[in-house]
Amino acid sequence: MKRFWKKLAEMLVTLLGVTFLTFCLSVLAPGDPAAMVLEAGDHIVSEELLAETRHEMGLDQPFLVQYGRWLGGVAHGDLGLSYSAKKPVAEKLMEGSTGTFFLAAVTVCFMLIISLPLGIWSAVHRNRWPDYLVRVGSFIGVSMPNFWLGLILLYVFGLKLGLFPITSSSVTAKGVVLPALTLAIYQSAKYVRQVRTVILDELHQDYVVGARARGISERRILYLHILPNALLPLITLLGMSIGWLLGGVAVIEVVFSWPGIGNMAVHAITMRDYPLVEGFVLWIAIVYMVINALVDLSYAYLDPRLRRTLGKGGGN
């Protein structure tokens, strides 16, 4: 229980620090949210109108007052009103997060489908043609820009073959396939190498030699002994990828017109939409904290050795 409270206090301090820093950076960055809102019409705006709008938005208040107000709101569950969207930040985040969660989930599935078998195949056939093939493939995958790959997939599967819609605009199973595939190909290109390395490491462990000596089939060694051991380092990576995906993938969202949180964040920064930027940062901070906690927990669950140490540690 004591550990829980300590952890919670740590999280709160981190959140406070992150939001304060973001607020500082937003305000220090040149630019005027009032002007951004008014000049969206792209014509000449008078100084009086700018001053009036700044006052209305509370931007003429001292920096600390603005931050204090925002913090006070957050403590009451109110993330404020987005300048550019003119709707509550919480509502805006909710709108984007459905798409982002769904896209992240499907991407992770695709990524595992692609990278696990290929990584294993490549490790098992080390320095033979399957290995070279996978390594070259992963090299190409990493080097291809995301948006370009996305456009190519759209061109082939959307325009030429007509299998998938060109625009998603709303969260649908049909619409998620191409953006998820684009992200998954890019991510898999990195994962394949990781999977390969981890499996290769395990292949040389004593327990593998022992198992072979006992005449256990290669296949059984691979799936029942090596894979579970290889999972641990991969889960850490996976956690980071999920965090990255949940932070939104602006370029992909734009290319596929996918309603997500990433494009919203980029837009919020360009528009100097401070409340929305703060809301987004809060979201990202929480996502990473939760994922880290889950990764820690999964270690304990998957690795009996860790479970034992943790169990002891907890008792102290």
């Binding site: 960055a29 040149p30 630019g31 005027d32 002007a35 951004m36 809102v37 000049e39 969206a40 019409g41 792209d42 014509h43 000449i44 705006v45 008078s46 100084e47 109108l49 009036e52 709008t53 209305e56 987005s82 550019s84 969207a85 003119k86 709707k87 805006k92 709108e95 499907v106 599935c109 695709f110 595992l112 489908i113 456009l151 759209l154 061109y155 959307g158 325009l159 007509g162 299998l163 998938f164 819609p165 060109i166 625009t167 605009s169 709303s170 199973a173 049909k174 998620v176 396939v177 799936y223 029942l224 894979l227 579970p228 734009v254 290319v255 017109s257 309603p259 494009n263 360009t270 100097r272």
Partner: protein
């Protein structure tokens, strides 16, 4: 024990993954966009900036009008002349303050309520009550309503009044109907051909307004997808995902040009891309000869026709050709002529003494800072083209790229030699505000937008006349004379005017592109026979 757990896990994972994949692929197989011959639904691809449909917030009213939901008292035609819309006619009294608008009879809001002068009055009053921006158009002493007659008495004479009321901010809503509705998602109750069924930023679904006043409404449903990426927008149009798309990018236009399945409507917009020239006393460009040399050293024709592939019209005058202000009659003394430019520089005393290719005078290099931002793709292209052309003449142009956020301040403070601008010249149908903001003399900050130091008493004099002139013909004449003064003075470098377009499938007729960019979806758009 362990083996069975592993097996189970792998089975579950494999099953899960397969079903996700299968779901995706099967769902995909049914796709393929709009089925041919669907005359019930119109699908449109645009870029939408509005998060809600509340016309009182930011510039969201633009979207309400663009989507065919809202209408205003007046509208702009293809020449940006003000035409009747919900107002049948109007007149101004001899006091130049009292405007009388005759509200069209028989118009109903989409909920069936009649459009009366009283309804128009409360709609306009609401805008003034809620939106500070409203009073930058005009301020009023009183608005009175009598049957279908609306009288607005302005505080000062406002020659541009009919055009101001065409701004989407003044679209007419049924203020009585707002109670109990979530205007942000359901949209306001207006008089347009379509009304909202559902709205999020990414997708709007609209249905036919059964009470529409101006002829029949051809489509039962209109779906508007916001597609931000220009390549994707073009592909969506090619694949039939959408029937028409607003603003296809330069690089994609070739796909549609000469393709008999598509119709292109292209028009020069109301925008002007220009470089403001800092001519304050201690600046290099305060010398008119150097300004003239700079302007005539730039081959603007090739920037627009070659580099920008004809998606921009070559710049010369301050007001773009989409507005009827005698664009072709203007005489640009500084049209492209590099020999003349070199001669002018020699005359002004700028010579390359040390042979490094850059001219100097009194030990000072002919170095100028060109401040640009790059969130609009064409701006860096213009800047680099100018840099390269002027290098041949012995200018050293340094390009300073800044965030768009900084631009306004740099302009006001005059911290530049050249400053890029991509600006709407006449959102009210008349370039008065634009001509005033950029070039009227700025005395002690009374015209802060003019940070360039440009000042010409003759120009100011005409500006004063313009602000009190009601006669349309005389206004046009004044504006043309003012434009000529700016050209003669080499006040700014006018680079080009962007074209905008709507590309549509030949399955549709009646698609039009207006320079004002407010009217995308109308009931004139219908299935081709």
């Amino acid at each position: 024990m362990k083996r069975s757990w592993m097996k189970k896990m792998w089975k579950t994972v494999a099953l899960g993954l397969t079903s996700v994949l299968a779901a995706g692929i099967f769902a995909g197989c049914g796709g393929g966009g709009n089925s041919a011959g669907d005359t019930k639904t119109l699908k449109v691809g645009v870029t939408n900036f509005a998060d809600t449909l509340d016309p009182l917030e930011n510039y969201f009213a633009w979207v309400v009008v663009r989507y065919g939901l809202g209408e205003s008292l007046t509208k702009f035609d293809e020449k940006m002349d003000t035409q009747p819309w919900l107002a049948e006619s109007w007149s101004v009294a001899d006091d130049k303050l009292t405007w009388t608008f005759k509200i069209r009879d028989g118009v109903k809001f989409s909920n069936g309520d009649p459009l009366t002068a009283e309804a128009v009055k409360s709609s306009i009053e609401l805008v003034f009550e809620k939106v500070p921006r409203a009073k930058t158009f005009f301020e009023y002493d009183s608005i009175t309503a009598d049957g279908q007659t609306l009288t607005i008495k302005t505080k000062t004479p406002q020659p541009g009044m009919p055009g101001y009321l065409a701004d989407p901010l003044f679209l007419i809503v049924d203020t009585k109907a707002d109670e109990g509705r979530d205007v942000r998602k359901e949209g306001p109750i207006c008089t347009g051909p379509y009304m909202v069924e559902s709205f999020v930023k990414e997708k709007a679904v609209m249905k036919k307004n059964p009470n529409y006043w101006d002829g029949d409404v051809p489509f039962e449903t209109v779906e508007v997808d916001s597609i931000d990426d220009p390549n994707t927008r073009a592909m969506a149009l090619q694949s039939g995902d959408v029937d028409m798309a607003v603003n296809i990018a330069a690089g994609d236009m070739d796909v549609f040009r000469g393709n008999d399945k598509f119709e292109i409507k292209e028009i020069s917009s109301l925008r002007d891309v220009l470089a403001r020239l800092n001519q304050k006393p201690d600046h290099i460009l305060s010398d008119p000869k150097v300004r003239a040399a700079l302007i005539s050293g730039c081959d603007r024709e090739s920037y627009n026709q070659t580099l920008l592939r004809g998606t921009f019209i070559t710049g010369s005058a301050p007001v773009p050709p989409s507005l009827d202000y005698g664009f072709d009659q203007m005489k640009d003394p500084n049209s492209y002529n590099p020999e003349r430019a070199a001669k002018l520089l020699d005359e002004a005393g700028w010579k390359d003494e040390d042979g490094d290719g850059i001219r100097e005078k009194d030990g000072k290099k002919l170095q100028l800072h060109f401040v640009v931002y790059n969130s609009r793709a064409e701006l860096p292209i213009y800047a680099e083209a100018v840099q390269s052309d002027l290098k041949k003449l012995g200018f050293d142009i340094v390009i300073d790229t800044v965030d768009y956020n900084l631009l306004d301040n740099i302009g006001i403070k005059g911290e530049y030699d050249l400053l890029i601008s991509n600006i709407l010249t006449a959102n009210t149908g008349d370039p008065e505000l634009f001509m005033k903001g950029y070039w009227m003399t700025n005395t002690n900050g009374d015209n802060p937008q003019n940070g360039s130091g440009y000042s010409n008493p003759k120009y100011d004099e005409k500006m004063h006349q313009l602000s009190a002139e009601f006669d349309k013909g005389k206004r046009r004449q004044l504006i043309m004379e003012m434009e000529q003064i700016l050209l003669d003075d080499g006040a700014s470098l006018f680079l080009g005017y962007p074209q905008t377009n709507i590309v549509s499938s030949k399955k549709l007729t009646g698609v039009e592109m207006y320079p004002s960019d407010y009217y995308w979806i109308t009931n004139k758009i219908r299935p081709a026979k």
